[in-house]
Structure formats: C-alpha cells, structure tokens
C-alpha cells in the first residue's frame, strides 16, 4: 500500500443542510418543484378558460356597448340556431376533417420510411427536414402559399402545360395550406409511435407468411393507431381554431375563427364571440372523448 492523502469528507455548509432537509422531506421537495408551474397553470389556463365560459352567458348593451353581467342563454341560442353559425361550423369541421385526412395520408408513408427503412443518418436528416418549417413564421408560410397558388404563381406555371390550373383562393387553397402547416405535427407523433414498434415484430409477421400488405394491416397499423390519432388531434384542433390562413388564401370564405375575430373586434360583442369559441372546444372535447380508449392520449 502506498500512502496518499485521504479522500476529503464533505463539509457542513448551509447548502448541505438544506439538501439534507429536502432529501428527507419529499413533500417539501414536491412543493418547491410544483408551486410556480401550478400557479401559472391555474391563473393562465383555468381562469382564462372559465372567464371565456362565463362571458358567453353575459350580454352586451347594444346602446352603450358595455358588457352587462346579467345571465342569459341568448348567445348560446343564437349560435346554435343561426344559419350563418351552422354553415360556418359545418364548413370549419369539413376543412378540419379533410386537412386531417390529407395529413395522415402524407404522414404515414413518410413516418414509416423514417422509422423503419431509413439509415440512422438519413433518419436524422429527415427529422431535421420535418422540423425546419416550424422555425419559419406562420405568416410567411401562409403568404408563401398565397403566392404559390396565385393566378401567375408557380403552381399555375407547373400544371398549365398539362392542361391544369391553380385552384385559386378559396376553400381548396385553405385546405392545401393548412395541410402543409400542420404536417410536421402529424408526422412526428406517428414517427415516434412507429419507432417504438420493434423490428422483430415486422420480421415475425413476414416469417409467419404475411406479405407486405397483411403485415401493414394486421401489425403496423393497429400498433401505430394510437400515434396516428395523437397526430390527428393536432391537425384537427389546430385547423378548427385557424382564421389567418383562411383570410390569406381562403378568398371570401369564413371559418369559426373569423367569426370570433369580427365579434371581438368590429362588432364589439365579446359574449357572442365567447359563445362561438365554445363550438370548437365542444367539438374537440367530443373528439377526445371518442378516442380516449385507444390510448392516443398517452402518445401526445
């Protein structure tokens, strides 16, 4: 044995005493960890949401423009029975559904390639490629599509030789642009979900005699379903609430968001705006309720 200096013992400092206290008091530890975020969550999320809900049951004095805090169901009834609101709700729902279907159809093969076929290097490149558009401003991307879809835009130039033409501004343009905007949010959860499916399951399916399609149908899709639904929650709810894209490329069409916007601003009717804003919230809750049993909520 060679002689050397002993390993230094820990010194008694205040910080050390505090650490000792925390390590023996798990509740104090938890309180320290969660107080700030819970305060934030409670104030910003819950209070704001409750205020919205409450405002929907108030009314506006049409003479003074002041909100009068007397309880009324008028706003809710207007929103439920007015033909304008019914049409716009159906239109918004249709756009959100189509965007979701297009995004899933595009995201599935891309995510499958990323998770199961690509080399690790290619995988990293693709993840970055999928994330890159999220670094650009939403507005810039929407205006980019406006220029792509315009009568003298790149799309017209591309398809004109084949007898096609750009759809111009309107609901198809809105659907195309929204599909583009939300695609990364659909690809990423599906990619993460497929990544978790062990390769050996695909090999086992082939080994037992299943060709490509039966393997996809019986093994890959059922296992990826929760992740797919997680992706659709993003594209569906983001589309339901959007009003900028439809303003930029949607022509004269309105979606629920536009009605909220005009009622808050030009019409100065916050209670009615709140009542309209409740529609997508109710729809989303209905959707979440439907899919909660698939385990999709664990994949968000």
């Amino acid at each position: 044995m060679t002689t050397h200096a002993p390993v230094p013992r820990p010194r008694e400092t205040t910080a050390r005493a505090a650490s000792v206290f925390l390590s023996t008091h798990p509740r104090a530890r938890l309180a320290l960890l969660l107080t700030a975020p819970l305060f934030w969550l409670g104030l910003v999320y819950i209070v704001a949401l409750v205020l919205l809900l409450v405002t929907a049951f108030w009314s506006v004095d049409s003479f003074t423009g002041q909100i009068s805090q007397t309880w009324t169901l008028d706003n809710i009834i207007t929103v439920l029975t007015g033909s304008l609101y019914q049409t716009v709700t159906l239109r918004t729902l249709g756009v959100a559904l189509l965007v979701t279907i297009i995004d899933v159809a595009l995201a599935l093969p891309i995510a499958f390639y990323m998770a199961k076929v690509a080399t690790p290097r290619m995988q990293r490149i693709l993840v970055i490629a999928v994330l890159t558009p999220l670094w650009a401003s939403y507005l810039v991307k929407a205006y980019a599509w406006r220029s792509v879809l315009s009568q003298d835009g790149i799309l017209e130039w591309l398809v004109a030789p084949f007898g096609g033409s750009t759809p111009g501004y309107g609901l198809p343009a809105t659907i195309i642009t929204l599909s583009y905007l939300w695609l990364p949010y659909v690809i990423l959860p599906i990619y993460a979900g497929l990544e978790r499916v062990p390769d050996s399951l695909l090999e086992a399916s082939g080994d037992l005699g299943a060709r490509t399609w039966p393997t996809l149908r019986h093994v890959v899709l059922p296992l990826a379903l929760p992740a797919i639904i997680a992706g659709t929650i993003f594209s569906f709810s983001l589309s339901l609430g959007d009003y900028i894209t439809v303003n930029i490329v949607g022509g004269a069409n309105q979606m629920l968001g536009n009605l909220v916007y005009t009622n808050v601003g030009a019409a100065n009717n916050l209670p009615l705006a709140s009542a309209i804003a409740l529609i997508p919230i109710v729809i989303i809750f209905g959707y979440l309720f439907l899919v909660r049993r698939t385990g999709a909520l664990d994949n968000l």
């Binding site: 090999e203 086992a204 082939g206 037992l208 005699g209 060709r211 093994v219």
Partner: protein, 355 residues
C-alpha cells in the same frame, strides 16, 4: 435422418456489412430432423447465418438450399422455415390465441379451423388456459412457449431458434431445455439453435458448429467438441481448459505443440503418483473455491504456469487444500489434447498418443 437431401445446405455463404465481414464463406450441411446448434461468442456470425437462412438478410455471396431447393433469393414469407425470436416478438395487440393463429390467418385459413389448430399447438406447450390473455400478462417462460407454438403451428420444415432461452433465469432455462428437446423429438423437424452458452449447446444438440470471426471453427458432436477440440479457441470456448503453449508442453507434457487438459482430468495430492503415463507436477495452491458439488483449486505450477483443477466433492477427497499449500497436480497422458495437427512428439514421450 431418412431424407437423402440435407434440410439446409449453405455454400460459400458470405455476408458483409460495409467493411465488416460478418459471415465468411461458410459451407454447412444440416441433416433433416437434426438438433443443430450454432455456438459462438457475440459477433461471431452465428445469428447472421440464422437471419440469412430465415431470409431477413440477403447474402453478399453464396447460396442457401432448403431440401435441395435454392431459396437464396426468396422473401422470408416464401420460405418453409420459421423463427423463434430472441425477444419472442409476440404481437402485443393480439391475444395469445390470435398470436398463435396468425400464420394460419395470413395463409387464408378459416377462423374455426385456425383456432382449432392454434388451440392444439397451445395444448402441446400446455398453455391452452392462457389463450385469451395478452402476451404482456404472461411470464417469460410462458411467452417463450407461445413463441414456440406460433412458429410450429404452420408446420415448418426447419425451425430457427435465436437464443430463445437467453432471457430466462437458470431454473427455467434448464426446464425449457428439456422441453425443447422433447418438442423437437415429437415434431421430428430440424431445429437450428443459436446460442452463446456452451453448456446449453452441449446439452441439447446432435451436432454443434462453433463459430468464430464469421467462420466455422469446428463442427462435430458435443462429445467430439469437448473431448477433441481442434483449436485453442474451441478448447477455451467449449468448457474450461488448461492450455499449455509449446514451451510448457515440452517441459510438462514431454511433447511439442499446443495442448489442453480439462480441469476434471487433473487431481491434486500431497505425494507423486506412479504409473504408466501418469505425470506429476509440483505447485502451490493459489485459491480453493467451494462449489458444492465440487471444489475448484487453482494451482501455480513450479514450471511457471497456472492450472485449474476440478475435484468432485466425494469421499476420495483426501484433505482440504488451502492457499499456500504445496501440492502435486497429477494427470494421465491419455487426457492430454493436442490442439494442433502438427503434434511432433519428443522421443522420450512414452505415453500413447491422445485420440
């Protein structure tokens, strides 16, 4: 082995992953009905050979024949071989019954018939009462048996097993070894078993191929491999060996070349023994390890090498050896294994040549 065709014939099989040669010109014939093991350390190429036979990988060179038919270019679903995966690869979203019936389902068999057959396969592994459970509700040993039932229900000609017992604890392993052997005998099909556990390979196999660096180092029955290892690698990997290099062999064994002696062939005593072919070497006990059924004694020989002796824990044990004791290690010339073909014997060696 009534079939004239071998179940599997590999010819010049080579697989390269980039610059790495995982399998290097392997030629191998496996007879029908054989329990064949591929044994080797990790990275020796044994699992790659199995995956090539299953069709999960395409060989860089060489051919794979299944009962005389070239299947090299065929997809996994087009080959009459099935695999029991190391992680079992049971489908987590299907019940046990659906898992076992899967191979029949994708072949288009009707619901009732495939469930009947799957139940029979489950009964064969004594798990019919688990049919409606999900794989996650089963223990490791039960999953193992489900994987076996799922692979055998489609009646393959050859069953590939990729370290199937690797994840089980010792008791369960030993129990599953017996069961595997029984199932193989009942089904009468060829089993190709990949393992890194030499004891498991020795216990189960009709024949074993020892893999090293992508090549077959030695091919033979368990007894052949154990009693007559062809190389230093096999002697070291299959069982434990006391290896003697050329110089030590000349000094201690009286012959040139590399040699090996198994620990159980050596005995430790306090006095030299006499006899035809009996050899003695003095040394000092370094360690005596009590194993229950036996005692492992490590001795530093005066000739400058360390040997391990395995003694049975029985009445013949004369005394308890302790660290530092002076002892004689004794063995018989017949138990010395020559590891190289060029075994030039010195003129004074009187003992008969080892087999």
């Amino acid at each position: 082995m009534t079939d004239s065709q071998p179940a599997i014939r590999l010819t010049g099989l080579t697989k390269e992953f980039g610059a790495v040669t995982a399998v290097d010109h392997v030629d191998l014939e496996i007879a029908a009905g054989e329990f064949f093991s591929m044994l080797g350390p990790s990275g020796s190429g044994k699992t790659t050979v199995l995956r090539l036979i299953a069709g999960f990988e395409q060989p860089t060179e060489g051919t794979i024949e299944l009962f005389g038919k070239d299947v090299t270019k065929r997809a996994p679903f087009d080959r009459d071989v099935n695999t029991v995966f190391q992680d079992y690869a049971l489908f987590p979203h299907m019940s046990v019954l659906e898992n076992v019936a899967y191979g029949l389902r994708v072949r288009g068999m009707g619901r009732r018939e495939r469930h009947e057959r799957a139940m029979r396969a489950l009964a064969a592994v004594r798990l019919e009462q688990m049919a409606s459970r999900k794989p996650s509700q089963l223990s490791g040993g039960q999953r193992q048996r489900i994987a076996l039932a799922r692979a055998t229900v489609v009646e393959p000609k050859v069953l590939l097993l990729d370290e199937p017992l690797g994840a089980l604890d010792l008791k369960l392993r030993e129990q599953m070894q017996v069961e595997l052997k029984q199932i193989q005998r009942e089904l009468g099909i060829t089993f190709i078993f990949v393992t890194h556990d030499q004891e498991e390979a020795l216990t189960l196999s009709d024949r074993i191929a020892v893999f090293n660096n992508g090549r077959i180092e030695q091919l033979g029955t368990p007894a052949e491999l154990y009693e007559r290892p062809a190389s230093r690698f096999v002697a070291d990997f299959v069982g434990t060996s006391n290896l003697f290099d050329d110089a030590r062999s000349r000094a201690l064994l009286g012959r040139a070349g590399e040699h090996s002696v198994r620990p159980e062939k050596l005995t430790v005593g306090t006095a030299e023994l006499e006899g035809d072919g009996v050899r003695n070497a003095w040394g000092t006990v370094v360690e005596a390890i009590y194993l229950g059924s036996g005692i492992r004694i490590v001795v530093d020989l005066d000739a400058g090498t360390r040997v391990t002796v395995l003694e049975q824990n029985d009445r013949n044990r004369a005394h308890d050896d302790e660290r530092g004791d002076r002892v004689v290690v004794t063995w018989h010339d017949a138990d010395v294994i020559a590891l190289e073909a060029s075994d030039v014997r010195l003129p004074d060696a009187a003992a008969p040549a080892p087999a």
